[in-house]
């Protein structure tokens, strides 16, 4: 299964903004320590700087990336996520899987009403799920879903055409926001949200693209989870502007540039971070169809040995991340710390592997390049040059990169990660994505067998063990050349605590608490 979200594009934009901000933020000072209202007592208002504007109030047209905080203010999800990325109750209080895992039965919360007075029940849930399945952006979460049925007022059945162990995760990630069915029918979501969420949208005091104001509803079923009386979200793409707003006290929480960590500490702010994307080289041509050399395991391994991943993380990534060879998140049970030294930088070994593969003099390859990746280009140039691999860079703008990169045998990549292990398997390994144009699982029987083992395993320990086995095999095959897992960082003043969630570029409001 695949999913709709801005993942890599957003991750790349973030990377670019971080790189740009690193250039300009040096001109800023520690300031006066604007504390954004942290001067004693509980903070009643949350003023958060989000990286991007809300894409749409219609969850079917919304992006997962940075839309979470906006949509979580006004909508309740059918399924939510907990801090570990595990499915948690939302408007569905519980759910059961059939033994063949092809039917998911969700039991719905009672007594919930939408802002327009409509009642939330199974009929409303089905109308929403159908709308999401047909949505331009949301449909990818429901690719393996064949239908929805209201069994009674409080029970919904979701029928799957194929087992999908990541379905609940994607629903919780931002693909199950429930809106008033009347708003769907009347196409009213263009005028603003009509949901049942913990906050009411204060349209009069909001200015789209500038700031969105939400006021707390006392009557919400989960009101205790949302401590702030008023939430104002500022979409601020320029990271210097965002940091200045934090310094001036206009914001009390922000999506941050890790280069500013020392200044955040000077100001006494809380700093929270978690892995969000992997950075490295994506081998799109593992079978060697375009460049024969890349079909050789030893060549891919040689490239992995050649790069100084730790140095790149320190120099380009501001040290905000984890040097690794894997793309299951560093907190995942699938992740194996011992494998991080598998490709410890060793240029002699890299050259020797190239020679063994019959490419002692290297080979030629074309790679795409866009301004966002220029921060990593010098390291790539030097490393490939040392190996004797002659790279011809083809310059292009970012949208073209996304469109054209899949046609190149390998390319530099910043790809968003998932907090769910099975979602990582589908998004990064088995499904065709722009960043994984040729999954090529079928061409590697041993990989295919391990993928099937994981997909058919009982969720839990057995599935984790199967994924670990697969992870080991993929690292050994140098399926990708992962340099590091980059963190997303959030600053907040004392009195506000942020819990980042891998998979969400910006956490939903339930993960922003007093503390």
């Amino acid at each position: 299964m695949t999913r709709t979200r801005t993942t890599a594009l957003v991750a790349m934009a973030v990377a670019a903004a971080t790189a740009l901000a690193a250039c300009t933020s040096a001109s800023t000072t520690g300031g006066t320590g604007g504390n954004g209202g942290s001067g004693g007592g509980d903070i009643n208002d949350l003023n958060a700087g989000v990286f991007l504007d809300v894409t749409s109030w219609d969850p079917a047209n919304a992006d997962i990336g940075f839309d979470g905080p906006y949509l979580s203010a006004v909508y309740d999800p059918l399924v939510s996520l907990d801090a570990d990325g595990k499915p948690a109750p939302g408007l569905a209080t519980s759910w059961d899987w059939s033994t063949d895992r092809l039917t998911l039965t969700a039991h719905l919360r009672d007594g919930v009403k939408f802002d327009d007075g409509q009642v939330f029940d199974a009929k409303a849930a089905v109308a929403n799920l159908k709308h999401l399945k047909e949505g331009v952006r949301s449909s990818q979460a429901y690719l393996n879903v064949s239908g929805f049925e209201a069994k009674d007022d409080k029970t919904v059945e979701i029928k799957l055409s194929k087992r999908d162990d990541a379905l609940l995760y994607f629903m919780g990630l931002g693909r199950s926001w429930m809106v008033s069915p009347a708003a769907i029918d009347g196409n009213k979501l263009n005028d603003g949200p009509v949901g049942s969420g913990p906050y009411a949208y204060d349209k009069a005091n909001s200015a789209p693209q500038q700031q969105y104001v939400f006021t707390k509803k006392a009557s919400h079923w989960d009101t205790a989870t949302y401590p702030f009386n008023k939430v104002t979200l500022f979409p601020i793409t320029d990271q210097t502007a965002s940091f200045n707003a934090m310094l001036s006290g206009q914001l009390n929480m922000q999506f941050a540039n890790s280069a500013n960590n020392p200044k955040a500490q000077e100001n006494g702010w809380n700093v929270a971070s978690k892995p969000s994307s992997w950075v490295g080289v994506q081998f799109a041509d593992r079978t060697g169809a375009q460049v024969k050399a890349l079909g050789e395991q030893k060549v891919r391994q040689a490239i992995s040995y050649a790069f100084d991943a730790s140095g790149i993380l320190k120099a380009v990534g501001n040290g905000a991340g984890t040097q690794t060879t894997q793309l299951w998140p560093s907190f995942s049970q699938v992740y194996d710390k011992a494998m991080n030294d598998k490709y410890k930088t060793d240029m002699a070994k890299a050259k020797s592997l190239l020679a063994e593969a019959g490419y002692a003099n290297g080979f030629s390859v074309k790679m795409p390049m866009s301004p966002i990746f220029q921060a990593w280009q010098p390291a790539a140039n030097q490393t490939f040059g040392d190996l004797g691999i002659k790279v011809e860079w083809v310059d292009m703008a970012m949208p073209d990169y996304q469109k054209n990169a899949p046609t190149y045998p390998m390319f530099l990549a910043v790809i968003a990660m998932d907090g769910d292990d099975m979602a990582t398997l589908t998004d990064q390994v088995t499904s065709k994505q722009w960043y994984n144009p040729n999954p090529s699982v079928d061409a590697f029987p041993e990989v295919k067998a391990l993928v099937e083992k994981a997909e058919n395993a009982e969720p839990g320990a057995a599935q984790t063990a199967a994924l670990k086995e697969l992870n080991t095999k993929l690292v050994d095959l140098a399926w990708w050349n992962v340099w590091y897992q980059a963190d997303n960082t959030y600053f907040s003043v004392k009195g506000i605590k942020v819990t980042p969630v891998t998979g969400m570029m910006f956490p939903t409001l339930k993960f922003i608490q007093r503390g």
Binding site: T2, S27, S56, N61, A207, F234, T237, T240, A241, P399
Partner: protein, 313 residues
């Protein structure tokens, strides 16, 4: 005068048509299939196809153009391909922001530029004149974003006199509106002040040395009245610069809007072109060209009023 106005209006409409048509076709050639940029990284071919149908991208280019043009002439610029919201709504939100900072910065520029220009013109070589010379070089050399950041650091972060980001509509709070547009406007205006001052100062000195001024002085006219005559004859050049500056400030607003996080015309253009949202791009192009046409038209009217010979051209 009516024929003069008619000619100017016709040429303005022609320019509007040429620029927007050119933008339409160039944007289609440059962007190609926009669905990837619009949908995000993991769009499936089926999703792209659905979006293409939804936005009418599968229609022949000339049909798309006619669909756009026939609506645009009625003032309907269609819906954004990104948010599916009417482009007019977005323009209605962005135009007041950019106009607020551009007009406010023009007012600042004209007031300070005129005063400095006249004073320097009256005393060429004086200390203020020398300061103006240095300032014009320095302010032109300094990048706009650097000036903006310094203003933010001083007045927003350290002194906390103004907000560092955002925009408040005057309908919500007039004071808030003034507070949010002051720093961006000053940032835009600094370069414009010295430019207007320099133009006016040079024009002033040139006219002041002409024979008719010497005659006015010889006839014993008071200095204030002589200055008025000189100013009126020196003003056409400054007015032309002012009109050009309006266009320049519209362009310069992109950086200021970015630094102060204001979603005006500049950022709307930048984002639309980045993601391939052609209806938004066309809407913003049409409005910007319309502004330029109107400003030039007004300039021609004023110049024609100041100098009747212009009307005969």
């Amino acid at each position: 005068m009516l024929s003069f106005i008619g000619k100017r209006l016709l040429s303005g409409i022609f320019l509007l048509l040429v620029v927007t048509s050119g933008t339409f076709f160039l944007a289609h050639v440059a962007i190609g299939d926009p669905t990837q940029g619009l949908l995000g990284n993991s769009a499936t071919p089926a999703q792209s196809a659905a979006l293409r149908t939804k936005i009418g991208y599968d229609d022949p280019l000339l049909v798309q153009f006619w669909n756009w043009l026939s609506h645009a002439v009625t003032g309907d610029f269609g819906k954004s391909w990104r948010s599916f919201q009417p482009v007019n709504d977005q323009l209605g939100r962005s135009i007041p922001i950019t106009l607020s900072i551009v007009v406010f910065s023009l007012i600042i520029s004209v007031v300070f530029g005129a005063v400095i220009g006249i004073v320097c013109g009256l005393r060429p070589g004086g200390w203020l004149d020398r300061v103006l010379k240095v300032a014009s070089v320095v302010l032109f050399a300094l990048p706009g974003f650097w000036i903006s950041i310094q203003l933010v650091m001083l007045f927003a972060v350290n002194l906390k006199w103004f907000p560092s980001v955002g925009y408040v509509s005057p309908s919500v709070s007039f004071v808030g509106w003034i507070e949010t547009i002051t720093l961006p406007s000053i940032s835009l205006a600094l370069g414009a002040i010295v430019m207007i001052a320099e133009q006016l100062r040079n024009g002033f000195i040139e006219v002041a040395n002409q024979d008719f001024v010497r005659t006015l002085r010889a006839r014993g006219l008071p200095r204030r009245r002589v200055t008025t005559h000189v100013l009126r004859n020196a003003s056409p050049a400054a007015l032309t610069v002012l009109a050009l500056m309006f266009v320049g400030l519209l362009g310069g607003a992109v950086i200021v809007e970015l630094v102060f996080n204001m979603y005006g015309i500049g950022r709307y253009t930048q984002q639309s072109s980045q993601i391939g949202d052609i209806p938004s791009l066309l809407g913003v192009t049409a409005v910007t060209v319309a502004f330029v046409v109107v400003v030039n038209f007004l300039l021609d009217l004023v110049l024609g009023w100041v100098n009747p010979k212009v009307r005969e051209r």
